[in-house]
């Protein structure tokens, strides 16, 4: 009798939790009834039958709103072209993909990469995944599909490393857009500023006229967004690019000037910036609480959702000093080395770069296609103007959205910016920017 009990306990103790569970099951009054049910209910999830169908698992951070709808539209195109491949949508949300990228990072650590994933075209992908030899070059696909002919020449170097292209851009957003409230400008007889000095004058006039917030600003990433446009507006495209390829040092006098401009611009912003999302900040403009806001052109989609009319209730222009330059960011998809379903992944990328795929995605998402041969009639008034600019402007990359700096460099700049926001010490900020470029960027000591 006793030995039997011992045997039972030893059995219970040596093996896993479930057995332990049943061993004491008879004893535990309350949980006993439910406990045995637990492993049973889990079982189906664990043994989900693998489909005989080919699959492609695509990882993105498009989980809601226009992005998700756009992705769905592109999946429809994909399913039509490749009915025998099952599309697995592994989207994880998170502010500009942060959660998504942590999940991706842990998956890559665990040796379980998805078949294709979303990344901001440019250094965010190159500095991280290409450097770690995780991506296959896609030149063959670009040549085979003729994409080199339909995508802007200035775009290709920004998404390449050592002559290899590593991602397929699906859409293009513009970062250097100045949104304004036409009524406020009109009431104060102010023309839309085209240079930074004009901008200062306009904002001085607005302040004098009692406008509390000439320029609306939000949380820290929107400050970095403003920072990159002011850098571009002060330095111009060549020198701006030179900062990122290491040919212009960050302790250059021109950068000092840009930082001074930036510091001055911050004086026109709302004191509660830190507590506002980009949406809150953009809303200030259309509500008449602020005159200007610098934000990427996804703001236009937001204004439309708020049922605001273009031109009359909100206007747009390039950020002062950046006319003729298109500061872009792009969501793109990649082909990992050793993809589990390489053919299916290439099929997906083919759809991503196709006219049909891009025209399905972009009008819904509120962005313009990376291809210049898209059907313009599908796009609204703002997007059409952006398409015109995309075709003729000089293209430079965005910092905040991963084009010009790798992730390590960007976080170092972000840290320096955060400290600058608390102490407003431009000299220290500039020194920190130079240090960041030396430790994670192309600058050498």
């Amino acid at each position: 009798m006793k030995s039997k009990k011992l045997a039972m306990s030893v059995l219970a103790l040596l093996v896993v939790f479930s057995i332990l569970l049943t061993a004491c099951g008879q004893a535990a009054p309350a949980p006993a009834t439910e406990a045995p049910a637990a492993p049973q209910t889990e079982a189906p999830a664990a043994t989900e039958a693998p489909a005989a169908k080919k699959q492609v698992e695509v990882f993105s951070w498009w989980t809601g709103g226009g992005e998700a709808a756009g992705l769905d539209a592109m999946i429809v195109v994909f399913n039509k072209k490749y009915p025998d491949i099952e599309f697995i949508n592994a989207a994880v949300a998170g502010g500009a993909g942060t959660n998504a990228r942590s999940v991706l990072a842990t998956r890559l650590q665990a040796g379980d990469p998805p078949d294709s994933w979303q990344g901001h075209a440019g250094q965010e992908l190159i500095g991280t995944y290409v450097k770690a030899n995780q991506l296959e070059p896609l030149n063959f696909l670009f040549e085979q599909e003729g994409w080199l002919k339909v995508m802007p020449e200035t775009l290709i170097p920004l998404i390449s490393a050592n002559g290899n292209i590593y991602s397929v851009p699906v859409n293009i957003h513009r970062a250097n857009v100045l949104w304004y409230n036409p009524a406020i400008l009109e009431a104060n007889k102010i023309a839309v500023p085209t240079t930074i000095d004009e901008w200062f004058k306009a904002m001085d006039a607005l302040k004098a006229a009692g406008v509390e917030t000439p320029l609306a600003l939000g949380e820290q990433w929107t400050v970095m967004h403003l920072f990159e446009t002011v850098l571009l507006g002060t330095l111009g495209p060549e020198k701006y690019n030179a900062l990122w390829d290491g040919t212009l040092a960050w302790n250059d006098a021109e950068v000092t000037k840009a930082l001074d401009n930036f510091k001055k611009i911050l004086e026109y912003t709302n004191s509660d910036a830190a507590s506002l999302t980009w949406q809150d900040a953009a809303q200030l403009v259309v509500n008449g609480d602020a005159a200007f806001n610098v934000m990427g052109d996804w703001a236009e989609g937001y204004f439309k959702e708020l049922k605001k009319a273009p031109r009359t209730e909100f206007g747009w222009a390039p950020v002062p000093g950046t006319a003729g330059t298109f500061q872009f960011l792009s969501d793109s998809f990649v082909l990992p080395v050793g993809a589990k379903n390489r053919d299916a992944a290439i099929a997906w990328l083919t759809v991503c770069g196709s006219k049909e795929g891009q025209d399905a995605f972009n009008p819904v998402k509120g962005s313009i296609p990376a291809r210049s041969d898209a059907d313009k009639t599908l796009y609204d008034e703002y997007l059409q103007s952006a398409m015109d600019d995309w075709a003729k402007d000089i293209v430079v990359g965005s910092l905040t959205h991963g084009v010009v700096a790798n992730d390590s460099w960007k976080t170092e700049i972000n840290d320096a910016l955060g400290i600058f926001l608390t102490d407003k010490d431009t000299a220290k900020f500039q020194a920190a920017l130079q240090t960041a470029c030396e430790s994670s960027g192309p600058c050498s000591k």
Binding site: S9, V10, F17, N133, S275, D415
Partner: protein
Amino acid sequence: MMRYRKEKWQSFLLVLPSILAIAVFVYGFIAWTMRVSTSAWKGLLPDYTWVGLKNYIDLFSDQRFMVDIRNTLIFTVVFMVGCLVVGFFNAYLLDQGLRGENFFRSLFLFPMAISYIVTGVVWRWLMNPALGSRLSGLNLLFDKLGLDFLINKWHTTPGWGIAFIAIPAIWQMSGYTMALYLAGLRAIPDELREAARVDGASEIQIYRHIIFPLLRPVTLSAMVILGHMSLKVFDLILAVAGKQLSLDVPAIYMWQTTFDGYFFGRGGAISILLLLSVAVLIIPYLIYTLKSEPEI
């Protein structure tokens, strides 16, 4: 005697699965983190080049980390004191045996049920610091109620913003301290109070000399629970304020530097320092409680 020894073994085997699980999930993972924290790993691929304590030393000249330490200290103090005071106050009110006690008790307890993923946005709105014509959130409510002196800049208050972040945390966790204190108060026999009253002690004296000392163990254990929570505070700040330096804490720095910037070595070092500070907080407590309890 034989049986006794056998049962000692049996008892050990009974906890063995838990011990093994904890050994892997806690100590194994900590060991891994320690190894990473002494490596030069930066970038996606592991790089276990030994750099000794460099990551740790660098942190102490890192301005952001200094901000983090200050913020954590402020947050911890405000959060702990807030939870203890509000919790005790609520427990005191409920201990009066008023009608509706059940209702109020549930009300004070319910925020514990909700995660910051759910309430973060609301708090972001409530603590909107805009002044003037854009007054909103609690400030707007204060304005409407004629409590203008309460209007403030909340978490954008220069230098002390982090203290305001403790408000939602207190909102969530004061129910826990309330429950602990209420349990503590109810456990104090009425005879003790009555006896003191007979001796002519005032209500205040009764609390000072009898009740507070008796509640001290409750306070201590609450402090340990709250203290470790405040050291690890993470999702609350992200939900209410996003990532910004003025409200930065070590857990956020760790997350951002590791997953946004791929500074795995530095992230590991921050983790270990966080763990050490938790250890400093709770090991003396563990020793104290284990020593002070009677032999069983």
